[in-house]
């Protein structure tokens, strides 16, 4: 293994066959750590399933919910997972259309994270419903009784938004993987060959396919960006459309989107460190990329902090006494510890990202990213719970810390997410092979051009001119084909 790349996005001299070999190797022969992680995830999931069966049988009361706390951790967790899903879209779609090349080695797992966190988030409204067997009433299906859902309800918007977002991001993930599927088809044997053969949809890598592929990918990316923003805006309207103090806030949509990107970036950092370590991907997930991710996270953290402070200020200087009271209660009341955890993790911890030494120290970054995510989780909790605990009606004030059932389900959702992700990394390449090649190619090209220009200048100096060498033609994805 070559020395660790310090100052470049990637070592452009990586051979394309090595890229293939490294990524395919990461998908094969799981080591013991993988099985342990898988077992842990399944155990966590089992806790949640057992808790959910109990709750389904006996009712929502087993989650400890009560009159003021009609919603609690389930909705907070739902918002958390929806938020996390925004990172993949950010990396793959937003950075794609602004041509940020460094995204390429890491966007695949981020996108997978998007899909899986959406799949996790989508479960929570079902867990949360009192009569989940009637869930489909939220959908506008044609009923002979002429009954429609209530289109004024943000929950109906949620149903539309999440299902659209889930299907789009799954499609986006899949389409982005097609060229890689073809590589895998060509480099594997047995069932995998058949499996990837089907998934690559007859990809041959000719010009027309590449042209269509690029166009489709760009189109989907453009489609996904407003969708992602709208999804979290709609989730925020679950709160903002209500009349409750601490929820009825006009800055909620951008605040939620910023928070979503924030937690997503933090999650990417966590997974980055984990994958880099376990799959020995130091050459692909370079410290340079980590630095860039950290800087992006820091920028988003500051946006989020700003919006948060704006919200506090608006509440403080506003005339809504209920809002103001709630803010004071949050900071000094029974939830104070949680509130200050959120402030610390969300607003203070990101400043560690200003230090290059820390940014390049993976164990620190693991801790920091987990702290950031903890901050974002409790942020969601601090949105849901205190409003319900200390709303307009003081007679119904009550503080809720949940029951074992509720915590088990919340905890188990991480198992479910982890399980999906662990299966993913062994079935699909968590690093996009063709795009890493693209990246190397571009870098090489840039360097060559630079050198060429240098030579040119030197020659010009020497008074001699010569024609530049042609760049290697062809598409990087075709390598090995």
């Amino acid at each position: 293994m070559s020395q660790v790349i310090q100052d470049k996005v990637i070592d452009e001299k990586l051979e394309w066959s090595r890229i293939n070999a490294d990524v395919i190797a990461s998908m094969q022969s799981p080591r013991r750590a993988y099985w342990v992680a898988l077992a842990v995830c399944i155990a966590m999931l089992f806790c949640a399933v057992a808790a959910e069966i109990y709750q389904y049988k006996y009712g929502m009361g087993s989650a400890g919910l009560n009159n003021p706390h009609m919603w609690d951790m389930y909705i907070a967790t739902f918002v958390f997972w929806i938020g996390m899903s925004h990172a993949g879209t950010l990396l793959s779609a937003i950075l794609h259309i602004i041509h940020a090349q460094w995204r390429k080695p890491i966007y695949r797992f981020a996108e997978a994270m998007t899909t899986f966190s959406l799949m996790t988030a989508g479960i929570f409204p079902m867990i949360h419903l009192g009569r989940v067997w009637n869930l489909y009433w939220v959908l506008p299906y044609v009923s002979d009784r002429g009954i429609w859902p209530n289109f004024r309800s943000p929950l109906v918007w949620d149903a539309f938004a999440i299902s659209t977002y889930l299907s789009s991001s799954a499609l986006f993930l899949f389409i982005g993987m097609i060229p890689d599927m073809a590589i895998l088809r060509d480099h594997t044997t047995g069932w995998r060959k058949k499996f990837y053969g089907i998934l690559c949809l007859g990809w041959r890598g000719d010009d027309r396919q590449w042209r269509n592929f690029r166009r489709t990918y760009m189109l989907l990316a453009c489609f996904l960006i407003p969708l992602a923003i709208s999804v979290h805006s709609i989730v925020s309207s679950d709160f903002a459309m209500s009349i409750m103090p601490g929820w009825h806030i006009t800055t909620f949509p951008p605040y939620f989107v910023a928070g979503a990107l924030y937690s997503g970036c933090a999650a990417i950092m966590t997974l980055f460190v984990a994958l880099r370590y376990f799959f020995r991907m130091e050459e692909y997930m370079t410290l340079n990329i980590m630095e860039k991710t950290c800087k992006l996270t820091f920028a988003i953290a500051m946006v989020w902090t700003y919006l948060n402070l704006i919200e506090f200020a608006a509440t403080w200087y506003g005339h809504n006494i209920y809002d103001k009271e709630l803010l004071i209660d949050k900071a000094t009341g029974p939830y104070a510890a949680v509130f200050w955890t959120m402030i610390f993790c969300g607003m203070v911890v990101p400043f560690t990202l200003c230090f290059q030494k820390l940014r390049r120290h993976m164990p620190s970054m693991l801790v920091v990213s987990i702290l950031l995510n903890l901050g974002m989780y409790v942020e969601r909790w601090m949105i849901v719970a205190p409003t319900l605990a200390m709303s307009h009606q003081p007679h119904q004030w009550d503080v809720l810390w949940g029951t074992v059932i509720q915590w088990a389900i919340v905890f188990g959702s991480f198992g479910w997410f982890g399980l999906l992700f662990l299966i993913f990394v062994k079935l699909f390449p968590c690093v996009s092979m063709y795009e890493v090649k693209e990246l190397c190619f571009h870098l090489k090209h840039e360097i060559e051009e630079e050198e060429h220009e240098k030579q040119h200048a030197a020659k010009a100096k020497a008074g001699a001119t010569a024609g530049g060498g042609a760049s290697p033609a062809g598409n990087p994805g075709l390598e090995g084909a």
């Binding site: 003021p68 006494i321 009271e325 009606q393 003081p394 007679h395 119904q396 004030w397 009550d398």
Partner: protein, 737 residues
């Protein structure tokens, strides 16, 4: 089976009863009748004769949940009674009900009712047949039993009407004079003072005429007298041309206190001194409307403001204000309730308080005479705790061989030191007539399950008859739920028949009541129309209006001999065994609605608590939910604390009603019973148990838990839920428009 009300007869009666009150919609055909005697599953397409599916029919009856005797209308649908409402015809409750009346149906349908007679065999109560039970009764108290009548006793709650006649008759037949009438919640001392100073035990209280009500611990809207009636009167008092002002002085805020314009806690047991101080001030200023003899005037002199302030802990300024209020806004009404009556000096305190009524000329004005039911044997025999003490004494002295218990639970309400439970072992044969497996019932040797108030016939003459002498008529609202229960009256009749008597001619209690009511002398009722019409009228109204006898009040000043109770340094606190509307004396602890209905003040549900003033709580280092031990010379209880300012700092209130050792699934093992730790102190003049006189010490046990109560915040936090305006504004905006 002595109950001869078969279904057809039952329908006939009900049909008549409901004829006048049935809802419209009787256009539904009821063509199919059911063959009698067959028990089958029959669809509602083939209804029973009196059942109109989907149509509720209202029948009039009388509430048996407490002694007030409110009139009821019960909604009956498909043969089941579903809902009780107040009878608008009743002069007692005027169509309203309280929570106890509302939950009458849960007494009736209670899952813990006794469904079969039980006899103690080898230490355990075992179900037996009615034949065996009656045979046993006959063996023990029948003519051949050789029982000594003088050693037979009966304990009941307040009892009136025909059942009272039957009880007296039975005891008379046996030659017994031991009828103990025990009511934990009573106004005995007040009644005695009224008798001595006014010449009438239960004078009519005209709240609507009073401009000021000064109440010394009388929770007249809760557990004092006739609460539903009083609440209706209270509304009139507040809504009159001028809004009346209520001043409440009591050691622990009751529901009435919560509605007061001025609520003050005097040092417990010193309310008499306060009344005398007020009287003294009034007379000093010459505000009294009735002259006071020099003899009393002399006694009053020593109650100057400084002394009274020192004794009672009420500022002199407040005493002056109350005195001037009584004078400026005459007529007033001054009342005394449990926290004054049930002190060692209860009688003297109440007399001192009654003095205020006398000198302010309230007698004959806000306090009037009531009509009494003409037939004395049917008037209410009101109970108190004196009989409990007598019973305890009789038990420990082994003076009883047979004890019959009905509608009271002395084993639960008696303090531990009276050793009622142990004393019962001295009684050879104890018979309990009871609906529920309460403590007393389960100590009996023979348990006879009786009908509920909604299955049985009965008549009730309320002790407090505010508007003419009426008799509440109770009729079955449905067929008995359990096949093996019997009416109390029926059992009494069969007992009477054992020795043969005038009552032998009656088939059952129903025919006895009917005959009796239809043959009431014209000195009692003016009968109009035929007997059938009269009877239908009674069934329809649930009320028998009678010509009562009214004796005018004779105010009589008695000597004031008030003496405050001595202090006790070992037990510095006053125990307030407070009672509330709903739970009453604990008899409703087996009703889930009552258990789940929060206490009106503390808002605690399903258990016991102890109320403490914040000052005292800080002293003890306890907060809401912490456990404290309340220790008297006679025992101790441990319960959670609820801290609020509506209590005297030297008092601790533990509510009565919980702490049942038996009494069904909803009551058993829940909370603590403060009555158990009362000291055996007697009120000096009346011999009642001075339940508020026990001194206790309170210690923290350093254990905490969550107090199960309704409501998160104790204050409105600046919200406008309950806004308050001053009565001067109210007078301007609403009265003078």
């Amino acid at each position: 089976m002595s109950v001869k009300v078969n279904r057809r007869k039952f329908l006939k009666m009900l049909g008549w009863g409901g004829a006048g009150t049935a809802l419209a919609g009787c256009d539904m055909p009821t063509t199919v009748t059911l063959e009698e005697g067959k028990e089958e599953v029959v669809s509602y397409l083939m209804p029973e004769e009196y059942v109109i599916p989907g149509i509720g029919v209202w029948y009039a009856s009388t509430c048996t949940q407490c002694e007030a005797g409110c009139g009821l209308h019960g909604r009956v649908r498909e043969g089941r009674v579903l809902k009780l409402e107040g009878s608008p015809d009743s002069p007692i409750n005027h169509g309203n009900t309280c929570m106890m009346g509302q939950s009458g149906v849960q007494s009736h349908y209670n899952p813990d009712r006794i469904t079969a007679p039980m006899m103690r065999k080898g230490g355990n109560l075992q179900a037996i047949s009615w034949e065996d039970a009656m045979a046993e009764l006959s063996k023990r108290v029948g003519p051949s039993s050789g029982v000594d009548g003088k050693r037979v006793g009966m304990v009941t709650g307040t009892i009136s009407g025909h059942q009272s006649v039957l009880v007296s008759e039975l005891l008379g037949q046996l030659g017994s004079k031991n009828h103990y009438v025990h009511e934990q919640i009573n106004t005995s001392v007040w009644r005695t003072v009224c008798r001595d100073m006014l010449g009438d035990e239960t004078p009519k209280l005209n709240f609507d005429k009073a401009r000021v009500v000064l109440s010394f611990g009388a929770d007249f809207m809760g557990v004092w007298g006739s609460p539903v009636h009083n609440m209706g009167e209270y509304a009139k008092f507040r809504k009159g041309a001028e809004r009346g002002t209520l001043v409440q002085i009591e050691p622990k805020m009751t529901m009435t206190g919560a509605n007061a314009d001025l609520w003050l806690p005097a040092n417990p047991g010193t309310e008499g001194a306060l009344a005398l101080g007020i009287a003294n001030f009034i007379i000093d200023r010459g505000w009294n409307l009735v002259d006071v003899p020099a003899r009393i005037r002399g006694t009053l002199k020593q109650y100057d403001l400084v002394t009274v302030e020192k004794v009672t802990g009420i500022e002199a300024e407040k005493i002056k204000r109350i005195a001037s209020l009584l004078s400026e806004r005459s007529p007033s009404l001054v009342l005394a309730g449990a926290s004054v009556e049930n002190q060692e000096n209860g009688y003297d305190s109440v007399a001192a308080i009654m003095l205020l009524n006398l000198i302010m000329g309230n007698v004959g004005n806000t306090i009037g005479a009531t009509a009494k039911f003409a037939e004395a044997s049917m008037q209410a025999k009101q109970g108190g705790t004196k009989d409990l003490l007598l019973l305890a004494k009789a038990l420990s002295d082994k003076k009883l061989d047979v004890l019959l218990t009905y509608n009271t639970n002395p084993v639960f309400t008696a303090p531990d030191v009276l050793q009622v439970q142990a004393g019962l072992a001295n009684v050879g044969f104890k018979v309990a007539f009871s609906m529920f497996p309460d403590e007393t019932t389960l100590s009996a040797d023979l348990v006879l399950p009786i009908h509920s108030g909604m299955e049985d016939w009965g008549t009730h003459v309320a002790a407090y008859q505010p508007e003419g002498a009426v008799m509440g008529f109770q009729q079955p609202l449905m067929e008995p739920i359990h096949k093996d229960t019997r009416g109390f009256g029926d059992i009494m009749l069969s007992l009477l028949k054992l020795r043969g008597s005038d009552f032998a001619k009656f088939d059952d209690y129903y025919s006895y009541i009917q005959t009796s009511l239809l043959n009431m002398p014209s000195s009692i009722v003016t009968s109009t129309g035929s007997k059938e019409e009269t009877w239908n009228g009674i069934l329809q109204n649930g009320i028998v209006k009678t010509k009562g006898t009214t004796t005018p009040l004779v105010p009589k000043l008695v000597d004031v001999r008030y003496k405050p109770a001595a202090n006790n340094s070992e037990y510095p606190m006053h125990l307030v065994p407070s009672a509330r509307l709903g739970m009453w004396d604990g008899r409703h602890a087996n009703i889930p609605w009552i258990q789940e209905a929060p206490d009106q003040i503390a808002k605690v549900v399903w258990g016991s608590w102890a109320e403490l003033h914040p000052k005292k709580a800080a002293e003890l280092g306890v907060k809401n939910g912490d456990y404290v031990r309340v220790t008297s010379a006679s025992g101790s209880v441990e319960t959670q604390v609820y801290v609020h300012k509506g209590i005297h700092p030297d008092a601790i209130a533990v509510p009565v009603g919980q702490g049942h050792e038996e009494y069904g699934r909803y009551a058993k093992g829940r909370g603590v019973n403060p009555l158990k730790i009362l000291n055996p102190i007697m009120e000096k003049r009346t011999g009642e148990l001075a339940t508020y006189a026990t001194r206790v010490k309170v210690t923290s046990v350093h254990k905490t838990g969550r107090l199960v109560k309704m409501g998160g915040s104790e204050v409105q936090v600046g919200r406008k839920f309950v806004r308050t305006i001053s009565s001067s504004v109210f007078q301007r905006t609403e009265k003078e428009v």
